[in-house]
Amino acid sequence: MSLFWLVVIVLAISLAGYIVGRARAFSSAAGEISQLHSLPSYYGANVAMKAAVPAFLVLIVWLLAQPFYINSTVSSTIPDTAIQEGSSLGLVMAEVRRAATGLDNAVAAGQMSEEFARNARADFTDITTRLKEAGQIVTSDITQPVMRAAQSYRIMVATGNLYMSIVVVLIAVAGALWGLKETNKDFRARNTVEKGIRVILFSAALIAILTTVGIVLSLVFNTIEFFRLYPATEFFFGLTWSPSFSGRGGSSELGIIPLLWGTFYISIVALVVAVPIGLFAAVYLSEYASSRVRSVAKPLLEILAGIPTIVYGLFALLTVGPLLLSVFGDNGLGIMQAGTAVMTAGLVMGIMLIPFVSSLSDDIINAVPQAMRDGSYGLGATKSETVKQVILPAALPGIVGAILLAASRAIGETMIVVLGAGAAARLSLNPFEAMTTVTAKIVSQLTGDADFASPVALVAFALGMTLFVVTLGLNIVALYIVRKYREQYD
């Protein structure tokens, strides 16, 4: 029974529970609605809730736990001799899973009998070729231990799914019966349902926390795994980045310093472009522009913020890069080798950040009380003097916060640097040279069929951890500054 039908059945049980519960409440009050404690629909909802919620909870927990349990059981049956030189348990398990799905599909397509799929021995039959003929992707010859493991994997998954369906349906029915048993005219159905809804609302709010926990756990565990294979000091202080994918990354040098340098260099170029333009635009829009100009210019500028980053990436790669190359390249000043460079990515990222800086600063400038402006005008200051000597100093903490938020955006930006900054990790001062960033390397280390056990793939998690910590730190400081500043004038 597929998951889809299981969900449909549980929903059907809870719908039936709703109808029966409602009818039962009516009959317990002998048809007089005024005799009921709650509206009849609440009695129905109570039954439906008790049928569906626990059943779905169990379903989710089961779905999470089952692969975990099966994996560990099956992998313990694989003998060490089945793990070839240069391979790992994880890779063999992946092979086992592939073989199991291959068998499943072959049986489903009728190319193999269930009997054969359960009992075939890889050392006597040509199971690999048969699977390949059936259109399954099997990477290598299936050995007997793998075949055995795949067969027991299949059986465990099948029985697990069967048990899961039975348990979930039973829980749904039991819940519905429990709800029905409670139903009588004096039962406080509304209060029960509302309490239940409150719990559901609360768990929805918890998802935010769970996401953070998920991020932190997935980063931390893999980072620890990485540091077990590669010394942390060399990662944090190493000056060269040259991953070698051959030989399971044994000879790689994975120092983060060149990546951090590229990241900060590009971010600084971006901020040098975005901050003055954004700030002047914000000052003009909030202090000088008529409301008509403002209502046109502000949304137009904000379009820049709504454009997906892939568009900026392509713009950097195909428009800005060649343009810069024609000016600074070999035909021009001769200091630029290729279109992808720090300057290319930084410029384009700066354009992307203009509306970010300008709308944040605009809000902050507007929050400066009018009395301060009036006071300054009253003393005879011009508008620009008021801006420079009264408004900007008053808004400074907020603007600093906005710039920090923009910096955190720039550091975490991926697509522009992947396409526009180049791939070579370099420690150089020339902004027209290609450099690479933390985010670009996360992408390049994790795309493709990476083996998660090797340091060259795991390093991406350590990079992600660094990125997460840096941006989180910037965000917390920025939000703190902005919030603290806002309280001053409220």
Binding site: I215, Y284, L318
Partner: protein, 449 residues
């Protein structure tokens, strides 16, 4: 009194000329300076906005001018009649497609002569312009022999270099002779264009088709990845809207003022600023590594984007719940509704337009997001075809629009760049539609209390 009696001239010996009576109408040096500074400052502001808008215009021009050619393709249209004898003869030969090619070339020559244009050309030139036409022609007649003896018009796709020449990407100046195209071939192309045998038509297969291999930029289409994006957006919509609204209602209406609520709120505002690639790492580690969900599946992409959009939706939903005045709640409570009833029957419907606007904007953001999709494997040659059904739409490997654009941009053949720009136009049309929808919703239903 003594101060007043002092002669003023002695106190300032340097200012020899007597102080002129100053008129407020005469502008002195300092005022002029200050006014100039004022003007300058204002000009900086206008300049800043001008630069911002200039970038916007440049971006728009780049997208449109580079992307439009993706929507046209160049075809070679030749009409000819294949008789039964020709067919039998060609089928009897050893190199069958070669024989058909000869027939094709003959027909082309005939058509040119008909128009009074007589140019010699050889088979290899034709092969560089339309590839090898023989196979297509043979399979056409093989499939339907009743077409024999009737005039049939063939529309064959021109090679990507010829396409580039027609679109202006390849010119006589910037091209080098290669086995793909030679400068002399362009003379024939010019003549064929003049005879309107080569012409541009609207490229439907770009909009409806799936990704093609690395060696066939002409056949690449964005259709399959649009479907991938669509299924992803379904997941995002059906998860993030209910969860986001539920979380916002809890935080806005029920949450007690305590440390834990603070923790949730700080968490949400921080999640909104976490780089999107980190969500990709989360998706890879949790959904693929840990839960073994299928790689490159729109379901996984949708889950990752849901987690990414939730903070946006929660923030905007809370704002619109906050905008419903307390008097509505009080009135509902006053006539005996429970708190839950007051919220679900009165506050939520009133806040709904705002919530929907926020959701659409969140979805638009998710639709354009690329980085997390790269990590869960929606990149490379993934969008090979359409999913077979509804369930496989969620589970079969597919790409998404931005990931498809990235795939094209990362390929070496520059003919794919044109496709990437074209893909961006399609993506931006979707985003524009969604944003306009959000604006209309806001205008139509927004209430000022």
């Amino acid at each position: 009194m003594t101060d007043a009696t002092l002669p003023p001239a002695t106190s300032e010996p340097s200012s020899a000329k007597p102080a002129q009576p100053k008129s407020l109408y005469a502008i002195d040096e300092l005022t002029r300076k200050r006014n100039a500074a004022e003007k300058r400052f204002q000009a900086y502001g206008i300049g800043a906005i001008g630069i911002g808008l200039f970038f916007l215009v440049v971006l728009a021009i780049a997208i449109i001018s580079e992307g439009i050619p993706a929507f046209t393709k160049t075809i070679v249209e030749v009409e000819f009649t294949l008789t039964q004898e020709q067919y039998d003869e060609a089928e009897g030969q050893l190199f069958k497609t070669k024989a058909y090619e000869q027939i094709f070339i003959g027909a082309l020559q005939g058509q040119l002569e008909e128009k009074g244009l007589d140019v010699p050309f050889d088979a290899s030139t034709i092969e560089r312009i339309v590839g090898k036409p023989g196979g297509d022609i043979r399979s056409f007649f093989k499939a339907d022999e009743s077409q024999l003896g009737q005039p049939v018009s063939f529309e064959l796709a021109a090679s990507s270099r010829v396409d580039g020449y027609i679109n202006g990407r390849v010119t006589r100046e910037n091209m080098t002779d290669s086995r793909f195209l030679q400068k002399t071939d362009l003379d024939l192309v010019d003549i064929l264009v003049e005879a309107s045998i080569i012409r541009s038509v609207f490229n439907w297969s770009f909009i409806t088709g799936a990704d093609s291999g690395v060696d066939n930029p002409g056949g690449a289409g964005i259709g399959a990845s649009v479907i991938g994006s669509f299924f992803m957006m379904l997941v995002v919509l059906f998860l993030s809207l209910p969860i986001g609204v539920a979380a916002s209602i809890y935080l806005e209406e029920f949450a007690p003022q305590n440390k834990f609520t603070d923790l949730i709120e700080v968490n949400i505002s921080n999640l909104a600023a976490v780089p999107s690639i980190v969500f990709g790492i989360l998706g890879l580690a949790v959904f693929i590594q840990f839960m073994h969900l299928p790689q490159s599946a729109p379901l996984v992409g949708g889950l990752v984007l849901t987690l990414m959009t939730l903070p946006t939706i929660i923030i905007s939903t809370r704002a619109s719940l906050k905008a419903v005045p307390p008097s509505i709640r009080d009135a509902a409570l006053g006539v005996g509704a429970s708190k839950m009833q007051a919220i679900f029957h009165h506050v939520l419907p009133l806040a709904m337009p705002g919530i929907l606007t926020g959701t659409i904007i969140g979805l638009a953001q998710a639709l354009g997001e690329t980085a997390p999709l790269l990590l869960i494997g929606m990149v490379g040659f993934v969008a090979r075809g359409y999913p077979d059904g509804f369930v496989s739409g969620f589970l079969d490997p597919n790409s998404a629009m931005p990931a498809q654009i990235y795939t094209w941009a990362a390929r070496a053949d520059y003919a794919f760049y044109e496709k990437a720009w074209g893909g961006i136009i399609v993506l931006l049309i979707f985003l524009l539609t969604m944003n306009i929808l959000a604006i209309i919703l806001r205008r139509r239903f927004e209430r000022r209390w």
